[in-house]
């Protein structure tokens, strides 16, 4: 061997791995560290792209863990309007590592946060749009928060795989308490923006990494067997408050998150990174997976991402038997003879 590159796989070379294959011929983009089987309980949370992953896994017959299922008769669109069935628990989007850490600390260590009230309705600053019109009372908000935290505990403790999609570095925080808001105060109902209370924060590499590692450590403390799968959302920022152009701000944000994911993944065999971000955003794909607004990801993009996911799992760990679709749960059976009794009752009363 005259140099170390001679022994490398074709996937290590741009010409053979990319240029000669074209965007739809790419393969081996992911060398998964651990097997994700259909019978594994998979938790998905994070930025909005995590929704696609959860739905695709469930559609394929994988055990996507809905730890906070919609209440009875709240179905389909109506359930989605109340943010049930979107992520594994009803937090809404968790855009930053700090936000994930904040939720986990509340779930496992307890604590209180500020609450918002406006025009007779109550809003949870951790998830201000979780109910279409806020909550009817403080008690209702706190009951819902308690249920969500219980669902997070259950999801973390019972998960086999915890998928977290990193979304943003930019956030808004409370000046004194450092509490991080899910959305900028004043952009949604609940509270007016107050420059004396609310400040913009754009997290840097060290803080992002520290928060992510702290969140993963908290998860690991509750569930030593869980595997962590990180992804980075390919969806650009909707707006930046950094002062930079939104395009360059997006680049900075995503580059930091991608770098943090890479560093954290290198630290443990139980943490992996799946390159959905690259599959959607890399110039090789020429932006084909974005809608005309160059922000929304089209279904073909999600499908391509998930094809790589399943194919690379199969390549490394072999084919899996997908479970048969479960029969709808057995309806409560009416006890034999019920109809007969019904007729008797009526006939007795109305018989001439």
């Amino acid at each position: 061997m005259s140099n170390p590159y001679e022994a490398l796989e074709p996937s290590a070379f741009w010409r053979s791995a990319v240029a000669e294959r074209g965007p739809l011929g790419l393969e081996r983009l992911w060398e998964p560290k651990f097997h994700i089987r259909p019978d594994h309980r998979i938790v998905t949370t994070g930025s909005c792209f995590a929704q696609h992953i959860g739905k695709a896994l469930a559609a394929r017959g994988y055990d996507w863990f809905d730890a906070e299922p919609a209440p009875p008769w709240l179905r389909g669109e109506a359930a989605a309007r109340f943010n049930y069935g979107v992520f594994s628990f009803r937090t809404g989007n968790i855009y930053t590592p700090r936000m994930l850490l904040q939720w986990l600390k509340l779930a496992f260590e307890g604590g209180e946060t500020e609450l918002w009230q406006a025009e007779g309705r109550w809003y949870d600053p951790l998830r201000p749009v979780i109910e279409p019109n806020g909550f009817g009372s403080q008690g209702e908000l706190l009951d819902a928060r308690r249920a969500c935290l219980a669902s997070i505990r259950r999801a973390v403790r019972e998960a086999d795989v915890f998928v977290f999609t990193l979304g943003l570095t930019e956030a808004w925080r409370q000046l004194e308490t450092e509490f991080e808001y899910a959305l900028c105060p004043g952009t949604v109902a609940g509270v007016a923006f107050d420059p004396g209370q609310h400040r913009f924060y754009n997290a840097g590499f060290a803080e992002l990494r520290a928060d992510l590692e702290a969140a993963i450590a908290l998860i690991g403390a509750e569930n030593r067997a869980v595997k962590i799968l990180l992804t980075v959302s390919p969806v650009p920022l909707v707006a930046t408050a950094s002062g930079a152009h939104v395009l360059t701000a997006t680049s900075q944000s995503k580059a930091l998150l991608r770098a943090v994911a890479g560093e954290v993944v290198a630290s443990s065999e139980d943490i992996d990174y799946f390159p959905s971000y690259e599959i959607i955003t890399h110039p090789v794909f020429r932006g084909m997976f974005f809608a005309p607004n160059m922000r929304s990801v089209v279904p073909e993009g999600v499908a391509t991402v998930m094809t790589h996911f399943f194919e690379d799992q199969r390549r490394v760990f072999g084919a899996v038997d997908l479970p048969q679709k479960q029969e709808p749960s057995k309806k409560r059976r009416v006890k034999a003879g019920a109809d007969v009794k019904c007729e008797e009752e009526l006939l007795n009363a109305f018989a001439p």
Binding site: P72, L74, A78, F82, E131, S151, C342, E345, L346, F350
Partner: protein, 244 residues
């Protein structure tokens, strides 16, 4: 003397208790000229709505309907009555209560009033009787009132057996009046939004979370293992919330 308003009481096998209550003078429907119309069991399922009337679609159902009505009314026309009471009509509210009382008794679960309202509306949309009533209202029905024929009676059958109410949700026996009031309120609002009246079960008749006091069980309930049908006294108590 003012003319009497026309009242049709439509229902399933639970209609028997209303008829008896009326015959025994436990409820008089003062100011109304009353007619009963309906069928039980499988024949109830053969009542459909079309061409401006509820009608039996099989000869067997029609036979039952004529036995119940006594006025020879094969069809129950929307235009012929001022008020319709849908009594029983398989609302199956016990399923709704079981699901939500179980949720409310679990400190790790919660539902907002807004979400509960949407769920109650969805539950009602899935009831065949409600869908028939909506068609009647489209055809000009003036007033339609739903009356729930009551939770199963406690102590008549083993409710923990597979297929019975407590098999899946044993803790509902711990439900309190405030839990039930929240659900009655949601259902009442959901009915109101559809343009219907609603008579829920009087809370003084409820025991063990979501069961009817066995004193209101139909005669011979234990022998027949019939927890569902109620006495005329129960029907009268219920309907007196709306009628004299």
């Amino acid at each position: 003397m003012p003319s009497l308003r026309k009242l049709a009481i439509f229902g399933d096998s639970n209609l028997g208790a209303v008829r008896r209550a009326f015959d025994e003078g436990l409820v008089g429907f003062r100011g109304y000229d009353v007619e009963f119309w309906g069928a039980a069991g499988s024949e109830y399922r053969n009542i459909h709505y079309g061409k401006g009337a509820l009608q039996a679609i099989t000869p067997e159902a029609e036979e039952t309907v004529l036995l119940v009505n006594r006025n020879g009314r094969k069809h129950l026309k929307t235009a012929d009555f001022d008020t319709f009471v849908f009594y029983g009509v398989r609302l199956r509210l016990a399923e709704f209560f079981a699901g939500y009382l179980d949720l409310m008794l679990d400190s790790d679960r919660a539902i907002s009033e807004a979400a509960l309202g949407v769920a109650a509306a969805q539950f009602l949309q899935e009831r065949r009787a409600v869908r028939m009533a909506l068609l009647m209202r489209e055809d000009g029905a003036k007033e339609i009132v739903f009356a729930y024929a009551g939770f199963p009676c406690w102590g008549v059958v083993n409710q923990q057996e597979e297929g019975r109410l407590l098999a899946d949700v044993p803790r509902v026996v711990e439900a309190l009046p405030e839990h039930r009031a929240r659900l009655w309120g949601a259902l009442e609002r959901a009915f109101e939004e559809l343009g219907f009246g609603f008579i829920g079960q009087p809370d003084e008749t409820v025991v063990q979370g979501m069961f009817t006091d066995p004193v209101y069980a139909v005669e011979g309930a234990a022998d027949k293992e019939d927890a569902n049908h109620k006495s005329p006294r129960f029907a009268a108590l219920l309907l007196k919330k709306r009628f004299d």
